[in-house]
Symmetry: C2
Subunit: 263 residues, 2 copies
Amino acid sequence: MTSGLRAGPLPARRTAGGKLLAVLDAFTRERPALTLSEIARAVGVPLSTAHRLVGELCAWGGVERDEDGRYRVGLRVWELGALAPRGLGLREVALPFMEDLYEVTHENVQLAVRDGTEVVFVERIAGRSAVGVLTRVGGRFALPPTGVGLVLLAHAPAEVQERVLAEPLTAHTRHTITDPRRLRRVLAEVRRTGMAISDRQVTEDAVSVAAPVEVSGAVVAALSIVVRGSSPAAVRDFAPGVRAAARGIGRTLASPGAGWRAP
Amino acid sequence: MTSGLRAGPLPARRTAGGKLLAVLDAFTRERPALTLSEIARAVGVPLSTAHRLVGELCAWGGVERDEDGRYRVGLRVWELGALAPRGLGLREVALPFMEDLYEVTHENVQLAVRDGTEVVFVERIAGRSAVGVLTRVGGRFALPPTGVGLVLLAHAPAEVQERVLAEPLTAHTRHTITDPRRLRRVLAEVRRTGMAISDRQVTEDAVSVAAPVEVSGAVVAALSIVVRGSSPAAVRDFAPGVRAAARGIGRTLASPGAGWRAP
């Protein structure tokens, strides 16, 4: 998982409110539980200030103390996050379509959105006998190597594409595309075909096929199936299903009842 | 949905950071999209202050502006919420067990935790042909009328039980238990039998059976199945499945690999 655009604490322009947000930023997927001194160090404030900030967040419910005395992100943040249209809102509309795909394939089904130059995974149904995947709900990953990322990048604003193409492309396996010219050609093909295939670009044994979720012409998310395989042929049969499900999600999001707005 | 213990903005003791949190509190399930002046009104600050607070939250990713110019909770909050052990952490462990229950029953499967005197629904798999339920993921409800709430209340600290029993019990249907003495007897039975049945206490056509998720003797969540029915008999056959799945979730949470701690 890359950290990418997330700037994290910026001590220079830190307001009182900014310090409170910096405490929340201290919690990561890799470090979900922190002691008070770890928080103080991460935020760059004295222990007494950290104590006051954590106290304020605890009272609000944004941070909870576990039985070991360490702090974790609180239920209130999760509950507020459930109101984010690109989080749980999107997920609630998409889940029935994802369940259908899962029931007919029993493979990994993934839904993701783009945030800056990264993929954020919003939902995943993991087949227990399906191939292992690195992604987690709420987790981030670079755009270029993943199927969903290729779809989201292909339909991103030009400046986002140029930013990604200007940076070195990390090789996760020997199949990862690291040549920006080749990536540019792949993105053009994704736009032309309406789908993307990532062939063992993240792990050596997994191939994915992804399709765009469109609302009034804008790509707001991407849906994929990830299967065990050693060539694009492994996912060809799944492409129509993924594309149809992605269209269904887009159509449902666009319906007036969904109360969903593209950000 | 009740608002219960959530105090909301408390202008009296409001710090600069507190105002930032109050902006987030302005967003609710009923009002997920707000204009700047609605935010200013909800927080109780001048428009210029609201503008600065919202700007700070936008830069952080906690709030996003939609195409209509209204603000919504941002992806960053959802992403942070994914780190909450009682939110997505619990849900990731529980989901495979919930999927198994769903595959064998095709009924509504729900997972909930207690926050103060309310139920918070952490996950739900909704059968499309199953009975309609009022709950939403991230939504809150009173404890006494729901199956999961009865389980969570039965195992709550005595002071929480007394607080709930001291308040008037809202009748959602003519079957809702509103007599505190009767509720007290039901809670004792829930503790004795290791399960709870809510018979049409929330809606006229739904019956649920719930069981506790225990980690080292503490009840940390409750699992239920909600089916269409007009008597407790409607769910009797589902009770063993719900109880077994709830035990499986608790056992997995307790395993060292789960990285889960009771709050």
